[in-house]
């Protein structure tokens, strides 16, 4: 494989955030609220902890083999066949999420802003941009992600104005039907946040590997904060019942912003889109990139670049093909997506980690580089 450049742990964190964030704030608050009702915030907490667990596991596994990606060492750890299969499942997960994201993006754009435009247009454009970014490489991807990250806080500041509408009563009574609904509601956001397991692919390119674990956990925590802002904001101001009925609660919430002192700023949902497009694009590009990188390694290619455009076209075709309408998409998000994501990020990662630990395998020339470096650091 070609040298893809080096990124810092901070940039890896930005990368992980952009993998998760965009969809987490689109459908997910509504679905979580539908399942967990007024206990949605508890669901978010459960999701946080489960995701932290999964990501911690993934990061630990990645640190065992700091100079390779999971695709490369899985065949050594689990035997050629099962290793290749595990590698393929990661690659599949990333591409699957990628075309799923494309479709989600197309659906929001056509529902909310451009009702007459066919959604293939949006899918094509965003895929083209994402392919451009993947072509440009990991470093550029991380730089753009960071640049986008600069604008996001400004956008969330606007949610301050929703604070006055939040009614604490909407969160009562706590745990009316036991913890069950909260756990059910935590599945989806938990699975989405567990997508930070992309660190398994990124690890070889991180320059300060020791900080990769805290960075991954920080990424999960950061998206959790954003997610809970939207979740608490929409449940608090619409009520759990109403939030559960909405397709895009964050969007609806944004549209309800009204600032009496600044009537000019009243209808800014088109600006929401601007931030939104960037977020979805980054999510797509990061997933796309992780998938391409993994595919290149899986096939043992020198460069994955020639495959980018055919793959992009394939993804577009798949995204259009796989769902018939937006309701199917949402049901799919509720019922299928979390299990697919978790079965890869949690189950396969877990198995690989356990096998690696049992067989006592560590990777790379700087064997156990992570741990030793930290020990040396403590001594110094």
């Amino acid at each position: 494989m070609r040298e893809e450049g080096r990124i810092s742990a901070f940039q890896a964190m930005v990368y992980q955030i952009s993998v998760i964030l965009a969809t987490l704030i689109l459908f997910h608050p509504g679905i979580t609220a539908m399942q967990a009702r007024q206990d949605a915030w508890i669901a978010a907490l459960i999701a946080l902890f489960s995701a932290l667990l999964v990501v911690f596991m993934a990061a630990k596994l990645a640190l065992r083999f700091p100079d390779e990606s999971v695709i490369q060492y899985a065949p050594r750890v689990m035997g050629w066949f099962f290793g290749k299969l595990a590698g393929l499942s990661y690659i599949f997960l990333f591409f699957w999420l990628a075309y799923y994201v494309q479709r989600q993006f197309g659906e929001l754009m056509t529902t909310a802003y451009f009702p007459l435009t066919p959604n293939i247009v949006f899918i094509l454009i965003i895929t083209l941009l994402a392919a451009y970014m993947v072509y440009a490489g990991l470093e550029v991807l991380c730089r753009v992600a960071l640049l986008w990250g600069i604008f996001v806080p400004a956008f969330f500041l606007l949610f301050m104005f929703i604070a006055k509408d939040i009614n604490i009563g909407h969160f009562l009574p706590v745990l009316e039907n036991g913890i069950g609904p909260a756990v059910a509601g935590s599945l989806l956001p938990g699975a989405t946040m567990a997508e930070a397991a992309v660190i398994l692919i990124l690890m070889p390119f991180i320059s300060d590997k020791r900080r990769a674990v805290p960075a991954s956990l920080a990424a999960v925590a950061a998206v959790f904060v954003v997610f809970s802002i939207i979740l608490v904001g929409s449940v608090g101001s619409f009520g759990a019942d109403q939030t559960g009925r909405l397709l895009f609660p964050g969007f609806t919430l944004y549209r309800r912003l009204n600032i009496p002192a600044l009537p000019v700023l009243e209808r800014l949902d088109a600006l929401y889109m601007a931030i939104w497009v960037g977020g979805m694009l980054l999510k797509l590009a990061t997933l796309f990139y992780a998938g391409m990188l993994g595919l290149g390694q899986w096939l043992g290619l020198k460069s994955h670049r020639p495959l980018i455009f055919p793959m992009g076209a394939l993804l577009v075709a798949l995204s259009v093909r796989s769902w018939d309408n937006v309701v199917q998409l949402v049901n799919f998000t509720t019922e299928v997506a979390p299990f697919v994501v978790l079965s890869v990020t949690a189950v396969i990662t877990g198995i690989t980690l356990i096998v690696a630990v049992l067989r006592g395998m560590r990777g790379g020339p700087e064997e156990g580089g992570g741990k030793r470096a930290s020990a040396a650091d403590k001594k110094a």
Binding site: Y132, P173, E176, D241
Partner: protein
């Protein structure tokens, strides 16, 4: 090479992308008010108020029906159509309007009593589903004709829907009607243990004397004979209108909902039938539900309120000890009366606009499961309400002693 590729692909994209949603700004009819009524045949009657931008921005255009006439053109047009669904009615309007309908700037939707009594569930889907429809628009109910509401002339703000919005924006001076936005309305409609409500708009004759118009220099048009008035609230059960609250009762409701931001409180002087007015500064209410041991439902409403003394006809020396306290006690009594009247009225209508059910749900989730089926019918009317008011007067204006006439002048 890569550049060329990117360029070619981009051109390719632009070619495939058309301008499906393109709509020039001047080719749209901006709708500022929507009215919904029923026709005798049982169809929905839809009224869209469309603004004529030329008359607003260009300093006024002459020519009402025949261009060139010396009467200023109307700054709006009302289109009325009918249909089995609202969408059908809306599209029927396209046969009349040469522009694309744009509902993104709609200010309020007014339902006629007939529609509201029959149930708003059927029409709300139209407003709820569409992206363009802002959840920030106001919801109103009227007993008058919607055509009349949306067509009363007035020189101050010429477009009736904008005028209506202006009146609603001034609500904090009185708190005599609720400000209900579509989003709130829908939330309450779907909420468990709470019924929805909204403001009432009506038409009333002008009290002011109208000068007889005369010809000649300084010719003025006659003043309009009718005015729109927003006052009171409409109570709903599920989605059906079941009753009205008058102005004072409405404020009673708003006290409980924590929505009173200001307004006059009229207090009768203790010794005479003269009155004192205070203006409400801020208020805060807490609703505390209780199920007593013998199974009775009881709600305690604690209201903390602050006010300024604005005007008094009593011989009241606020500098005297106890004078303010006495006034505060009277004020508390007034507020209690307002709240109680509202509760009584709501219980009569079996419409829990106060959200007492929600309060019970939060505090007693287990008991709530038994109650929620028959809450409005059986339990809500039986709720005993107790109001505790802690009213304060903070400022008294620029005077301490009352304004008195000198004794010699009395002779």
């Amino acid at each position: 090479m890569r550049w060329a590729a990117a360029l070619v692909l981009l051109a390719f994209m632009l070619m495939t992308a058309g301008c499906w949603d393109l709509q020039q700004v001047e080719e749209q009819a901006y709708i500022t008010g929507i009215g919904v009524d029923r026709t005798p045949e049982g169809e929905f009657k839809l009224l869209f108020q469309v603004v004529n931008p030329n008359t607003i921005a260009g300093g006024g255009v002459l020519g009402a029906i025949t261009p060139g006439a010396s009467i200023p053109a109307k700054s709006f047009r009302n289109y009325v159509t009918a249909g089995r669904t609202l969408y059908e009615a809306e599209r029927a309007m396209d046969l009349l309007i040469p522009l694309a309908l744009h509902t993104g700037h709609n200010r309020e939707v007014v339902f006629s009593e007939a529609v509201a009594r029959q149930g708003l569930l059927d029409v709300m889907s139209f407003f709820n589903r569409r992206v363009e429809m802002r959840k920030l628009m106001y919801v109103l109910v009227t007993q008058a004709d919607i055509e009349e509401i949306f067509d009363l002339p007035n020189p101050i703000i010429a477009i009736p829907s904008i005028r209506l919005e202006g009146i609603i924006r001034q609500q904090h001076w009185t708190s005599f009607f609720p400000v209900v936005r579509l989003g709130d309305f829908l939330n309450w409609m779907g909420a468990e243990g709470r019924e929805t409500h909204c403001a009432v708009v009506s038409v009333k004759p002008t009290e002011a004397r109208t000068l007889r118009p005369y010809a000649g220099p300084g010719f003025t048009a006659a003043e309009p004979l009718l005015d729109v008035e927003v006052a009171g609230a409409a109570l709903f059960r599920k989605d059906k209108l079941v009753g009205f609250l008058n102005q004072k009762e409405t404020r009673g409701l708003l006290w409980v909902l924590n929505k009173v931001r200001g307004g006059p409180l009229l207090i009768r002087c203790p010794e005479s039938d003269k009155f004192t007015s205070v203006s409400i500064l801020r208020a805060h209410a807490r609703v505390k539900p209780e199920i007593s041991a013998d199974g009775r439902l009881r709600v305690t409403i604690r209201i903390r309120e602050e006010a300024d003394l604005e005007e008094t006809q009593c011989k009241l020396d606020v500098g005297e000890a106890g004078a303010i306290a006495a006034l505060e006690a009277l004020q508390a009594k007034t507020i209690t009366a307002e709240v109680m009247s509202a509760v009584r009225r709501a219980q009569e209508c079996r419409s829990d606009a106060f959200g007492f059910g929600e309060a019970f749900h939060r505090r007693y989730p287990r008991e709530w499961r038994l109650m929620k089926e028959n809450w409005s019918e059986d339990f809500f009317p039986a709720v005993e309400v107790e109001v505790e008011v802690d009213a304060k007067i903070r400022r008294v204006g620029l005077r301490k002693k009352p304004l008195t006439l000198a004794p010699k002048m009395l002779d």
